[in-house]
């Protein structure tokens, strides 16, 4: 149960970093919408879970935030990727690809292939 939540949080952090990398500075709602669009229903359950992740990333120095005005002139907190964050994204993306590739190979392998 706990493990699953950790995995979700880890992937969520990676999604946030990638979103900010692609779209530039964005407020929480914008990040949530973007992730929702791409991931389908992963975040649709609880948009709110995004905020603790944002805080953690900020504490780690991967992202920074400041108050700004949104597109329809509302006050909103904007998050942007820092240099550290960019580095972290690159490293984690590489790790993720490796892991995904390994897992994929395990799924492709059929019983007869091993004989």
């Amino acid at each position: 149960m706990k493990e699953k939540a950790d995995v979700l949080q880890g992937t969520l952090a990676l999604m946030v970093l990638k979103t900010l990398d692609v779209l530039g500075p964005l407020h929480g709602y914008g990040i949530a919408r973007r992730i929702e669009q791409i991931s389908g229903d992963l975040l649709a359950v609880n948009q709110g879970t995004l905020y603790p992740v944002l805080l953690k990333l900020e504490q780690e120095g991967s992202i920074a935030s400041e108050w700004g005005a949104s597109e329809n002139n509302r006050k909103a907190r904007f998050y942007r990727l820092t240099r550290d964050g960019r580095k972290q994204l690159r490293a984690e993306a590489r790790d993720w690809e490796q892991t995904a590739a390994i897992i994929e190979r395990f799924f492709i392998v059929k019983a007869e292939d091993l004989q």
């Binding site: 929480g28 359950v45 709110g48 879970t49 603790p52 504490q59 907190r77």
Partner: protein
Amino acid sequence: MRPLRRFFHRLTSWARRQQDEDRLRAEIEEHLAMQTAENLRAGLSPTEARRQAALKFGTVEAIKEGYREQRGLPFLETLIQDTRYALRRLRKSPAFTITTVVTLALGIGATTSIFTLVHAVILKSLAVANPAELYRLGKESRCCYWSRYSQDKEFSLVSYELYKYFRNHTKEFAELAAFAASEQLSGVRRAGTSAPAQSYPSEFVSGNYFTMFGINAYAGRVFTAADDRPGAPPVAIMSYRLWQQGYGSDPSVIGAVFNLSDSPFVVVGISPPGFFGDTLRDNPPDFFLPLATEGDDINKPDTHWLDLIGRLRPGAAPATIEAEMRVELKQWLRSHWGEMDANDRAKFPQQTLFLGPGGAGITSMREEYEHWLQILMMVSAFVLLIVCANVANLMLVRGLERRRQTSLSMALGARPSRLVRQALTESIILSLVGGAAGLIIAFAGTRLILHFAFPPVFGAAGIPISASPSMPVLLFAFSLSLITGVTFGIAAPAALLRAPARSRGRCSWYSRPRSRLFCFPPRDSSPPLCAISSIRILDSKPIDAS
């Protein structure tokens, strides 16, 4: 690097948590507003748009909780919460709290004060430089004179002439000092004053006495070899105690003339505060005088009244010196063959001597009290064990009595680890308070024991044992009680957590007479019985009442 940065962030954010909380609220508000606007554009009614937005966001409180866990120092915050909770709970059951604290305090205090005494009398070295290098003549302490040229069992007291013989012939001693085996009381009056003479103990010591101990004067100077020659101007060294208490640390005392038993002495120095001479006794000397000023026994080669302590040269072996000194003793006795009577001559072949560690000085008090102090120490160790058993018992009973509350908390969603932590916090607080009270009792107890063991005499120095408790023992007794408290404090909730969930809500077995019976071992029972009873409690299977 990253965890470190995170930690500092948490530390600073803990300080400005209100600000963070406001920021989160604002962000959530913005988020919901944007989502609501989006929903409105999609054609929903305002109320529905808001409702959908909230639904999509999730439970705000849970998210805030998650946010708070990321921010600040959750460990510290729960610790503060648990501490407050524990204090409140302890206040609500004063009988339990007071009993436990008093039990702990008495156990820790009594053990510590008794051991402080044991430490001072049996284990402690003199307050001198490198006490391990010191060796003394004689296995047992003797008092005070021994005449003629033979001594029973061992030759441990020496005459002035024999001292000089040993000093000049034994080269492995860097310094070999002699001092009178007994003190004497002298009527003391500062020259030129009309105040009545007061009597203070004084001791004759050789000129190298202070050099041998590696002791410097607190003020003025210590003796030199020149002070201890026949015809040298008579000088004296005053104890720090008398200087401070009798003369108000008056600097003019140094260089002043004092009449000791009607002979004038110039005080040339003050001995350092912790130094009480060569022997732990209840009236340490207030004046040290050179041997040469004794003027009576000093000229008699067959009057033995001096103890010897020497500092070894680096690398010298005590066994070699001992053998060498035995030969020297025989040689010296032979040189007095003419003066020896038939009895001395008959005992001559048996005459021998022994060298022993002298770091603790002349240990007559140790020899006298060692046996009793050891018994006392064993008794106090048992007292501490009984205290531990009692505390364990109290903690277990309390844990069992709280089962209903614990079950309720769990039913309301408290995490088991948190419940155990609360019990743990409570035990630790109890042990800390007990330990602090124990410290006070240790201070008072040591003072009391010293007062009864060595009743103070007005104007005299009194036993030079400090009443401040010995730290290692205090720590030991304290840790032992802490471990006991903690172990048994969490035993009960831990047992509850292991019990099957269905029976948790019921307190059926807790009221079972058998368990209760085992819960209260008789007060004088041994710790093993208590341990067995606690195992019984932990092992007993809950009976399902349904």
